[in-house]
Symmetry: C2
Subunit: 383 residues, 2 copies
């Protein structure tokens, strides 16, 4: 179950010496066709890394033939020289593969403001090219890890076609994409336009609703490539459903591996006037450090849920809100109901349900608790 | 230097048994006149505690004769019975003082969703009334402390008049008021309308720019009362300046006592197109858990500053931003400049300067670092 499970793809993961650990740090994914349809979504951050600035141009015509990824440096705010490094990497990939650089997406992850060593990257491209294999997906997934403790991969089977995926990301998981790089492959026949429609629908309810620590990255990229090698054309609905399943699976893997987290928290807002309201309410709770610290302490502090809900513009009556944690309704009509001591928060999975009583829409936003380990990992990251 | 330094005020701080520690937990502040002008600002949270719902009605006519405050319970989301408790407390104060309950502001702080014991509060009112003294300001300041490690007081002298203040708040310090209760007294002659104008101007650049942890409280209240006992009428400009000085001093005391913080961080955005842009940019950085954790680790991670700036709608060119930390310009024109290793973050005070190069406005937002102690205190708070 990897990005090389669908037909028409080769991949590799190698060490280019970017990580001080000496581990794998460069990955190459190649779509050998016969088709090269693609779609990509990027971070909505206005401060963009050089690989994103480059790749935004690459994806415009809907054709992507290869994705080259490196960990060990984000190549963000490294100036014109940093952009030239990204460009040189794309050119090197293109030359090896005999394609145009303008069909090569580049992704980087790591520290901002640190120049990537260009020669090491170019040598890494050569090594990755030499290691390309039809079963190289797992190596590639390993090479894009940073503070991830496990590699993230997925495979969703269709009727004679499939979708494979890999992701990296373990912190800075926030709205409109987590800090993450995701490559998805499929051997279904899907046009670039349909891929774009399906990808936006899938990310909207998966990666976009993951809000681990409220911090939005400068490098997030999700690219899907379709080789058409199965010769089968699924309906857009079927493909979108499978792609959504793949994205949600990867998103949950990211959530479970968030830096230093002790709990995965699913915040579901029900009976909202609009889906946007439900997402806004969920996100406000997902961003409450006080609430997240309470969950770390296994403390069902629903007052901190309502204090967050009250900061939103969603439609609701402040005097008529219901709140449940792990299925126990601790607050009904904005008044204490079941004794919170009946809630057991010692397990990893925590659910929060907020009933706005203002409509029939709903949405779930996922986050993690705020722990000592989070503070530790993120205070030591660049040291 | 306390709320009883200006003439015309008495105050008391007593123990009503609300705090398990047995410490002082109720405060009463009385304006003996001859004038009773006042102004108040509240949290902008839509989920409001019962004392806020009550006090919003009290302040409407610009007359406040007394403020009764308790720690040990926020009386928020405690249902109709909680509102009745607030009302009963106001009535008890009014009866003792021979005034109307509709001139009594009530403030509560502590856990949300926990009913306050009504009889203990009423007995506390009696005890506070019996302890009222013209030098009782410091006792009152002590009684409103919750997780505060020190009481916060201020005195600003005018020409023949003065402003005294007290504040509580040690966490949940966020926009549009920190979690805090503030009472300010003055013996200047100032009309209710002028007090309102001055208070809004003062809080806008002080309490409203404190963003310790991004969490907005349900109980925040800042009340200013003017007794007119000095017989002196300052100009509105002079009074506003003194009031701003008092509010800023209290805000800095709150900042320095934020739960578990190791650093005070002043984020100044310069050359912004508008003051709102400058505040938005500052607040985005103040809310970045990643950046705040880095400061805790004495790590000058300016990439996390830019990643936050990029999430705002402020006017700027992403390719032309300058960033300094503690006066060292680590980023010029969005490119690495001085080596970050020249920055020493071991002191408590940290400054971040962001040059948007888009205008001539500026603003400073204050926050704290994200520490192990913050996580600890806020995971254990209600346990």
């Amino acid at each position: 179950m990897s990005i090389t499970s669908p037909r028409g793809f080769r991949a590799a993961g190698v060490s280019a010496g970017l990580k001080t650990s000496g581990g794998k740090d460069m990955a190459l994914v190649v779509n050998d066709g016969p088709r090269h349809d693609s779609a990509t979504v990027f971070t909505t951050n206005r401060c963009l890394a050089n690989p994103v600035l480059w790749s935004q141009e690459v994806v415009k015509d809907g054709v992507v033939r290869a994705v080259i990824l490196n960990s060990g440096g984000a190549n963000c705010y490294t100036g014109p020289e940093g952009f030239q490094t990204t460009h040189a990497v794309a050119e090197q990939v293109a030359e090896r593969l005999g394609i145009g650089a303008i069909d090569v997406v580049v992704c980087s992850t790591g520290l901002i403001g640190l120049a990537n060593p260009r020669q090491a990257l170019l040598d890494g491209v050569d090594a990755a090219y030499g290691a390309l294999a039809t079963d190289g997906g797992s190596d590639a997934a390993e090479a894009i890890m940073t503070t991830d403790s496990v590699s993230k991969q997925v495979l969703v089977e269709g009727a004679g076609w499939s979708i494979g995926g890999m992701a990296k990301g373990a912190g800075m998981l926030a709205p409109a994409l987590a800090t993450m790089l995701v490559v998805i492959t499929t051997d279904a026949v899907v046009s670039a336009d349909d891929l774009d429609t399906a990808l936006r629908a899938a990310t909207r309810v998966s990666f976009d609703r993951l809000d681990s620590d409220g911090c939005m990255s400068t490098n997030d990229t999700v690219t899907v490539m379709a080789s058409g090698a199965s010769g089968i054309t699924p309906t857009l609905a079927d493909f979108t459903e499978a792609l959504t399943q793949a994205c949600t699976d990867l998103a949950m893997q990211l959530l479970k591996d968030a830096e230093g987290a002790d709990h995965e928290i699913a915040i579901t807002t029900i009976n909202a006037a609009t889906e946007d309201d439900a997402v806004e309410v969920g996100r406000s709770v997902a961003r409450s450090n006080l609430f997240k610290a309470a969950v770390f302490g296994n403390d069902p502090n629903w007052g901190r849920v309502l204090a967050s809900v009250g900061t939103t513009k969603a439609a609701f009556d402040p005097a008529d809100l219901d709140v449940a944690m792990n299925g126990v309704w601790v607050c009904r009509s904005s008044t204490p109901h079941t004794d919170p001591s009946e809630i057991d928060l010692t397990g990893r999975d925590v659910t929060v349900t907020i009933d706005l009583k203002s409509g029939s829409e709903r949405a779930t936003v996922w986050t993690n608790d705020l722990t000592h380990a989070y503070v530790h990992e993120n205070s030591a990251y660049s040291s």
